[in-house]
Every structure is written in C-alpha cells, then in structure tokens.
C-alpha cells in the first residue's frame, strides 16, 4: 500500500512517528496505517496556517483601505462642490435666465440646465440604439475575426481625446455653418458610443449560453431570440451602461467649447437653432474664469447642479430597472 503512494510517506512521517505509539496503546480501533497524521492535536491554527492567516488579514486590510479611499475621494469632491456652491443655490438660481451683462450679480442658470438636458438627451438618443446594435452584432452575429476587429476599433474610439472629437465635429458641422446643440450632441454621442457598446457587450456576454440554446431549440428565429430573451435578460446591465455613459457625456466640456459656446441668455430647447445651446460644463468653465468674485461661487453652484443631474439620472435608472426586472 505504501509503495503505491510513492513519495507521500516522507511528508507525513513526522506526524506519523508521533502518532504511532499512542494509537498502538489504544489498539483494537481497527487497522493502523503507518504514516497517518496525528488528529488529536489542538484545532487552533499554528505554524504555516497561522502565518498565512496573518498575511491574509493584512492583505484584506489593505484592500479595505483602498476601497475606503476611493469612496472618500468621491465624498470629498461632492462635499467641497456642494459646500461651495450652496451659497448660490436657490430656486432663483435654477429657474432664472442669467443677467444680460455677463459678470453682473443675480440671475440663474436655467438655459444651461435645459440646454445640457437637451444635448445629452439627443446624444443618448443617437448613441444608445447604435451602441446596443453594435453590441448585439458583436456578441450574437459577428464571427470571431470581425468581432475582435470591431472591439479594437471601439477601444481606440474610447481612447480618442474629446477635444479631437470636438474638432472633428467642428469641421463637419460647424465650419461654414454655425454652432448648434445638435453638433454638441453628435460629439457627445461619439464619446458615449464606445462606452455603451462595450459595456452592453460585456453584459450580453453574461447572458448564459444555455438560454440562447433553449430558445434556438424551440425553432424561434435568432433575432426573435435576441429580442425576446437576450435583451430582456440583459436589460438592467444595458441601462446601467447607458447611465454611466450619460454621466460621462453630461460632463464633457472640451467639445462644447468648440461646438456650443455661443448662445443667447434665454432658455432654448431647439438643438437645430442658429446658435449653440447653453450648457452647464461651458458655464462652469467661463464662470470660474470670471473676474467677478461671485462668478466662482456660481461655478461651484452649477457644478453641484451637474452632480445632482447625474445622481438623479442614476437613481431613476436603478428604480426603473428594479421595477421592470422579474425577481424571485
């Protein structure tokens, strides 16, 4: 028996030599196998196990610190923005047009809020269907070669500096014409597109292959399977991906400087007008450079509004998702 195990006895020998006499004295407990470890010792960790537990505890602690640090950074940013912006935040600030003469006290950022909502909504309307279709193509229909090529292209697009995208859209839609909310939406849609497509693709890959097989085996065409089984299963993840992209797109500033920085100071909802749409990121940018002391506070105020906008969007998406998802 021992021969069959080869080198094993050497490992267990120390424990075995100690255990052997003890077991022999008690005898009649059945056959005694030489080289069996002593099972009667203390159950508290010792030796190597003790050492590994210490390392494990240390590593766990470092991870917790890292996680807390990330949350702390978020908390500090949110706190400092809201604390400094709070002085200007008021119903008046949210609902009034800015003063006619820039830098003058009073007035609100209503056109900026409305403009940002319009620009981002239009960008989402462009990027979300395209992004989902791209993700569906990559996961459900494309062969291995085209899929990896498209994935690479999307990653490159994701890495493109937003000012470059802004410049591109500037040349495409603004040169020879004029700035517009639509141009800004196109640029932001280009920024959002790879985010939505890649995140949606990851979610679609999480849909178990067994569900697709089940649907295939029912003799239902593939696109119906995608629509009826794959998409509903992945809906939550797709919504989350879109909200993250919206959050990213809503804060983009560089393209807006080129594409939507000239606008009137009244509320406009027309992205196809003769001038750009007012928007919060550009407002923050200009106000923070303003000579007037109050301008800085107003920049913080606008920043808190932008943060709230993103927060509300995420919360609404979460609620909508939990309402529609079938749970156990």
């Amino acid at each position: 028996m021992t021969d069959a195990f080869g080198p094993l006895p050497a490992v267990t020998e120390p424990a075995g030599s100690a255990a052997q006499p003890m077991l022999d004295e008690q005898d009649n407990l059945g056959p005694v196998t030489p080289g069996l470890p002593d099972f009667s010792g203390s159950l508290t960790p010792s030796g190597n196990l003790r050492r590994r537990q210490l390392i494990s505890g240390f590593a766990g602690g470092v991870q917790t610190v890292a996680a807390v640090l990330a949350v702390a950074v978020l908390a500090i940013v949110v706190y400092s923005v809201v604390a400094r912006g709070a002085s200007v935040l008021s119903w008046h600030f949210l609902t009034q047009d800015p003063p006619l003469i820039a830098g003058e006290a009073g007035g609100g950022i209503a056109p900026e809020i409305v403009g940002t909502v319009v620009i981002v909504a239009l960008a989402t309307a462009i990027a979300m269907p395209l992004g989902i279709l791209i993700a569906l193509y990559l996961t459900e229909f494309a062969g291995r070669w085209p899929a990896s090529a498209f994935k690479l292209a999307l990653d490159l697009l994701n890495g493109l500096p937003s000012i470059v995208i802004g410049l591109f859209v500037f040349g495409l839609l603004v040169v020879g014409q004029h700035q517009s909310g639509f141009a800004a939406s196109v640029a932001i849609a280009i920024i959002m597109l790879p985010l939505i497509a890649r995140a949606t693709q990851e979610v679609l890959l999480l849909v178990p292959a067994s569900l697709r097989e089940a649907a295939d085996a029912l003799g239902v065409a593939r696109w119906r399977t995608v629509r009826g089984v794959v998409l509903p299963t992945a809906r939550g993840g797709i919504l989350t991906a879109t909200v993250l992209a919206v959050a990213r797109g809503a804060g983009e500033t560089a393209p807006l400087i080129l594409l939507s920085s000239l606008f009137g100071n009244t509320v406009s909802v027309n992205p196809f007008g003769n001038e750009g749409l007012a928007n919060i990121p550009y407002y923050i940018f200009t106000s923070s450079e303003s000579a007037e002391a109050n301008g800085f506070a107003r920049a913080w105020g606008a920043a808190s509004v932008l943060l709230a906008f993103i927060l509300v969007a995420s919360v609404v998406a979460r609620i909508a998702n939990s309402r529609s998802t079938l749970s156990r």
Binding site: A214, L218, G219, L326
Partner: protein, 317 residues
Amino acid sequence: MRPADPSEAADPGAPNVRRRVRINTGGPAPGTPVAPNGAPTETSRGLPAAARRSSALTFGREAIFDVRDLDVYYGSSQAIGGVTMQIHRNLVTAIIGPSGCGKTTFLRSLNRMNDSVPGFRIDGTILYHGHDIYGGEVDAVEVRRRIGMVFQRPNPFPKSIYDNVAWAPRNLKMRDGLDERVERALRAAALWDEVKDRLHQSALGLSGGQQQRLCIARAIAIEPDVLLLDEPASALDPIATTLIEELMQTLKNRYTIVIVTHNMQQAARVAERTAFFSLDVSNGRRTGVLVEYDDTEVMFTQPADRRTSDYVTGRFG
C-alpha cells in the same frame, strides 16, 4: 477494484482503460484495417443492428430518422464515425454509452444544435421524414421547430412560468388560445397542479425538478414531432427523476422521444429501443461509434456485441 464510473472510463489518461477497451473490442485486432466508414466491427458496419434482427417493435413502424453513415467532426478531430441507425415513431429510443463517446454530439446533430459550434462538420446523411436535415435549402430554425430539445441542466428563461411556455408559441404565430395551450403543455408535463396558482411568478423560483418539467412543457407547447432529451434527469434528485421518467411514458404516445442517458437503469426503465455508443480508440484516434442498436430488452439480456454486454453488466464504463 475499479469503480464502474463512466467518467473514469473515459479519462484519456487512464492506461488500464485503454487496455481494457482494446481487449474487449470484438472487431478487428489492432492494426487490422478498419472499414472505410470508420466502423470497426460487423455490428455497426453496413447493416444496422436494427436490420439484423427482426423486431416486433419496429416492424411496420415509420422511421422518423434515417441516419446513414454519419461522421461528425469538430475541426480536425472526429467525434463520431459511421453511425447508421433508424429512429422509429412513438418509441422512446435511448442512447447509452460512456462519457465522450459522442452520444450528445449525435443527439445535437439530429436538430442541428451543433451548427453554432466552431469547426462542426458532418459527412453522411440524416434523413428526417425523408428530408435531408443538412440539405442546402434546409433552415435550421425550421428543423428545430419540428424537433424540440430538453437539455441536461434546466434552463428556464428569466421570465414568468406562463411566459416561459407561451414565448415560443407567441413567436411562432400560435397566439390563438394561448392560455389553453399553456395549460395543456403544463398538464402534459405534469406540472400544472404545482404551478397553476403562480403562473405569473418567476420560473427561477421553481425547484430544479420543476424547472426541468417546465422546460419539457416549453418544448411541447409548440407541438413538435420529436423530443430530444439530453440527460434530462442527470441534475435532478431521484424523486424528480422518477417524475420525468413517468412523464416520458405518457409523452411517447404523442411524440417520438430520443433520450441520451448515462444511466443504464434509466434506459432499461424508459426506453423500448436502446443504442449503445462506445469509443473506438484504434489508430490512436478516439472516435465514437455505434456498437449495437436493438430492442432494450435484447440489449440488456442478450446483446450481440461483447462490448455491449461488458457495458450493461458494468464491467467497463
């Protein structure tokens, strides 16, 4: 000494298994040229086992599937070779054999579920009511519409119980009397009484056995011709397994059933006809072959092939 565990027998690294299989090969000795279709023995070459012996069960019964010289390849490796067999209407046909012998590959070839596997390729023909399933004009979706499948692990959609059953009929333009159709399918799958009060709750809240019966209900809701069951009870407890086995006895009046199973007792209990697949390891290739195919009773009491008797008596695999 050696446990009769099929998964161990299929382990390519176990040398004694390889030796054992070679000894048991009733066909050509190693080195002897095998038949061109890759079948090593008299049993599976040329005449299918079914044609060798007259069977009261198949006499005058329509053959739903007529498989001729089927070879299946995944890339460069051959999964099954030279399978010739007929599957008859309203019988339960079991496919047994050790792991890795191509049972599931064969089953999935019957309704083109292997199409999406990269490198999948077949030689030979599978005739279904006389139509070549892999014919140029044939669409896999139409094939699967007629030949349903239930998988090893229960895979209900993350939808309500009702929607699980109703989804395919809705998509296949069978919307009239949908409620009745759902009820009929659930009754046929012996699930109705357990779920009739919670049809609109998630199917994921059901137990494993209930989920598997739901999958059967889902498959028969579109009234297919054939049901392919791929080890439908292997993930279930004995009571749920018994329920599924009883279910098959009623379903065979309406459907033609092909079941792949690991479990010989299950095959003996549920199937009228049994096909035994095994691994042929000659020439250093491991290919699944049909060793013997006959009435279940014959297969378990007086099999013609040595490998079959070794397998059904638990001597290997």
